[in-house]
Subunit: 181 residues, 2 copies
């Protein structure tokens, strides 16, 4: 076990809402002192960068209320339940948000989004060999599907024009794997 | 303004703790319906990838209680107050966590960590031309400073061995800028 381990002494439930579950733990630090750790519990999520045969990426533009502006992101969503196969969830979110199905899906690793404040992890995938049906987003999800050349997206990431974390990582990893960087 | 804008109707304060500030807004959706948005407010943060003259990166290994395991990360920390110059904060965190000072600091853009759940943004920097004094981490911060060749870190990111978001992005961007990919 880690020499820096912080041991739980007690947990207080702070808030269990529709999407946020907040807890506050009293912990024992490595030096024997006590401290407090507040953080959010999360079921986990998936995100997938869908790349067509012309090396164009199917992106979604949507409003993110916490930042009060539109974001350009790869398709993504929460797991339906703890322990859901992330690959199943990735296929579902891809289909719901863009109408796409993929012949090939390659794992791009896992992303811990905000390790100090939330235990969320995002499973990242690259989807290729795409065919298209109808999109069917969630009821209170408003989004626009847009295509960008992967090459242009790399430049946008490098120039700070795409800020979403999962989207930056998926674009750079996909471009490196496809030897476009 | 965005066609997808969600307008605030009212805000309820849920929790204002030591590090988490949770609010719950009633919002007006683009279709005229109402919905609820729960999220965390955050002051913003900085992270810096310090690279020495041998292309080795000064990293920190620390325990992240929300995930209950050790993380290998670049030095990072919260802004001291809203509106603090992120470059000043980056120099402070670099010095506190690793004892390093930098001759050259290059912006690597901004990272939105978890746009659905928290308004946190991280200002990313690359620091070069390093000299070293004493590290002086915060009182309840326990960490180990370790060096890795940037080339090895790129491989670790591409093989899913480094999961922290800001760290993955900073490693890939720095390696691309330094033409090591």
């Amino acid at each position: 076990m880690s020499q820096f381990e912080e041991k739980q002494i007690e947990r207080k439930e702070i808030y269990d809402g529709a999407v946020l579950h907040v807890v506050k733990d009293k912990v024992l630090l490595p030096n024997g002192e006590e401290s407090i750790r507040e953080f959010c519990l999360h079921k986990g999520a998936v995100a997938v960068i869908p790349i067509d045969n012309n090396d164009e990426v199917i992106m979604v533009r949507q409003f993110r209320y916490a930042h009060h502006r539109e974001f350009l992101e790869i398709p993504a969503g929460k797991l339906d339940f703890i322990g859901e196969d992330p690959l199943d969830a990735a296929k579902r979110e891809l289909s719901e948000e863009t109408g796409a199905m993929a012949e090939r899906i390659t794992p791009l690793g896992i992303l811990d989004t905000t390790p100090a404040l939330i235990d969320e992890i995002i499973h990242l995938y690259m989807a290729e060999g795409l065919s298209f049906g109808n999109m069917h987003p969630d009821e209170d999800e408003f989004l626009e599907v847009v295509r960008y050349p992967l090459k242009d997206l790399v430049n946008m990431v490098m120039h700070g024009e795409i800020r979403d974390g999962k989207t930056q990582i998926a674009i750079l990893k996909a471009a490196i794997i496809k030897k476009m960087i």
